[in-house]
Symmetry: C2
Subunit: 478 residues, 2 copies
Amino acid sequence: MKRYEKFAEDIAELIRSGVLAAGQRVPSVRYASQTHGISPSTVFQAYYLLERRGLIRARPRSGYFVNDNFVGPSLSAPELEAVPAAEQVRETTEVDVSELVFSVLDSIKDPHTVPFGSAFPSPALFPLQRLARSLSSATRDMDPRVTVTDLSPGNPVLRRQIALRYMVGGLMLPMEELLITNGALEALNLCLQAVTQPADLVAIESPAFYACLQVLERLKLKAVEIPVHPQNGIDLDVLELALERHPIKACWSMTSFQNPTGAQVPEERKRALVELLRTHQVPLIEDDVYGELYYGQHAPKPAKAFDTEGLVMHCGSFAKSLAPGYRIGWVAAGRFAQKVERLKLMTSLCASMPAQAAIADYLQHGGYDRHLRKLRNTLEDQLRAMLGAVTRYFPAQTRVSPPSGGYFLWLELPEQVDALKVFHAALAQGISIAPGPIFSPTRRFRNCIRLNYGTPWTDTSETAMQTLGKIIRSLMGH
Amino acid sequence: MKRYEKFAEDIAELIRSGVLAAGQRVPSVRYASQTHGISPSTVFQAYYLLERRGLIRARPRSGYFVNDNFVGPSLSAPELEAVPAAEQVRETTEVDVSELVFSVLDSIKDPHTVPFGSAFPSPALFPLQRLARSLSSATRDMDPRVTVTDLSPGNPVLRRQIALRYMVGGLMLPMEELLITNGALEALNLCLQAVTQPADLVAIESPAFYACLQVLERLKLKAVEIPVHPQNGIDLDVLELALERHPIKACWSMTSFQNPTGAQVPEERKRALVELLRTHQVPLIEDDVYGELYYGQHAPKPAKAFDTEGLVMHCGSFAKSLAPGYRIGWVAAGRFAQKVERLKLMTSLCASMPAQAAIADYLQHGGYDRHLRKLRNTLEDQLRAMLGAVTRYFPAQTRVSPPSGGYFLWLELPEQVDALKVFHAALAQGISIAPGPIFSPTRRFRNCIRLNYGTPWTDTSETAMQTLGKIIRSLMGH
């Protein structure tokens, strides 16, 4: 172990043990250099490493501080470290990632494949029988005239229920602003289209959910990649720089339990994100489909909660928390609400009415919060199981940043391991994974993979992790 | 009445009474000139008039023939004549019609308004209760895993049922080509996007369904308007000219019971349309959402039936024939099938699964053909009722071309009547209509209106027609 690595490990230990608390300043370079008898450049190297691991973060002209949502030692095995994120504003990029994504998606259609590469949690986790009852009773009583009168913005009972849930969480969302869509994916498409023209620049996360890249590709938009820190989410300093340098027309961010990293933007940083974009008058498209899947005591507030000027277009969905396959999402598009609603009318008129009515009925009578509590506990248990397996079977150099919600684990494998090779070798053994390059228009993250732990843990999962570990090790030597 | 008008009326009478049957050749210009003692140019003028009325049609180097889908005298009042359609290739046009369309659409949301302006048939005409039963049983038995495995192209049972229906009608459509969409509107959007880039030219009908104009606007495409003959549909000669003059990237046509004219392209002309586009290697986007609503003995064959090279992208829907509000449509996109499926995955992932499963169940067990027979009879009865009211209450100069399917009546009012004024005056009296200019990017058809007869005829309908007649007369004098 080199000197700077040793010093970094010491500081990391101080953070893990709580001696250095979240938000606290770490020793200045000069102080550390003097007290530890090492050169300032060694301290810098160590801090740089810790920053890449997501443990600390630089504030311009103030020094380094402990990241405020670091997940403690209970979930983080010593050899598992945070994934680094790049520091520079990337060049803008034409997006063309679809072929690769589709080959990955095709691979996970086989029901016998271990679905670590899937984008969905197991359907077994959802109250589909109870929803079917809601579907029956809601459509039995449905007034036929609504099929003509209740086009977009959508079922008023459903929209009221959604607004109520936000209200309980402290976000006042006028029902008039809410539009029901065919899942969040359509909402995101409509939002982007409402505020961009082909060839415009959009600030996106890096890594980003591949569907985001596909939407950009479809709409012929260009991406400016902003690094995501595994713990804190989108890098505000880099974003600020990008906003100053480029004529960015929108910013797309997954503010809670980001796909693929699981990163959660802390509340204060959400506020800062909204404020930064407000200064530049750039709309934020907030993709919040995992917001209900938090493991803590309280739901994370969305960035929309800090929106004072209607610049945040907040997108949600029931697909990941309640009703996969129903394809019911929504958007509260602020000052763009009417424009988005009209685009929706031109694109697909309205969302399927039986599905809307069923979910409206379920939200009123089905016990959604009870279901969610159970779902969150299950997902957190499955996270622990998968983290355990990573510790047991993966090489020690593997870095991971345990999320505090959602169902994705983002792993940085040893540098010499090619994630696409892992993908192919694993698939040959009946295991799917999501390789890093599908999450970047510039094919970065070539040694990263995303694993889905949204499926109940079984012996098959354990064996599959063991097999994956072997595959990764076998790719390290060559 | 001028001499050529008198002679045209004589020939029209021969056609109406069945002396000249569909497909039969009308007297040659020379023969008619000699036997009737009129100049050849008078005969030409008369035949030209008859052609404009949709009664006959020229075949190059063969003379004039009686159109084979002329609707006989039982439906056509003597003073009601076919609507003329322009002859020239129009200039290409940026499409910007949405504001006008949305103001019309907003107007028909009030359930107390007489819905002559609506785009939908009355929901009372559909077996929504029976569908709700299908919904219950289909979702009760639904394997949760399909919510992950059965994304686009969609529910295999539903796709098989749709393919079977086409097979019975003589069209072999491989199930693999079929993609389920959120209604035909999404299918049309995806098709256009698959074969165009922003600023490309698309040949569309004139008048065209306003949603088509909105889709062009949304995708930033330019329109080349091709006239629609009220009986024969899209003008092939003009289309040919347009294809030679302009780099047209796609042709969008509603081949059966066109919205708004009700025009039905005869089978042979569908074949010719496909052949013409094949020669130019231009894809046909066939919007066939009214195909099941024919009044004759046999379903009209879609243009897709004549497609030999996979250039026809055929779009259908259950929204107008079975399940309004379910938002289930489909597309068989020929050689573009994979591209369209991928666009669908990027746009909205898949259609709502309960709705797909319900319709699949209904098609197997619900008695769809029985429902359709009843629906067709009802619509034809309602057409007769509305035509009668037009004859009773509207000015004699009103021209109408009774359709042989669907539920729209396209009327050309006396020239001095402004359809937008009719729209506003009627709305003030609680009656909606669809004014001509919303069906054209160049705001043509200013004295035309579209009336929807898809609602069971009542005293209210009768009174509303009387009121409309008064409004129109009142606008004639000034």
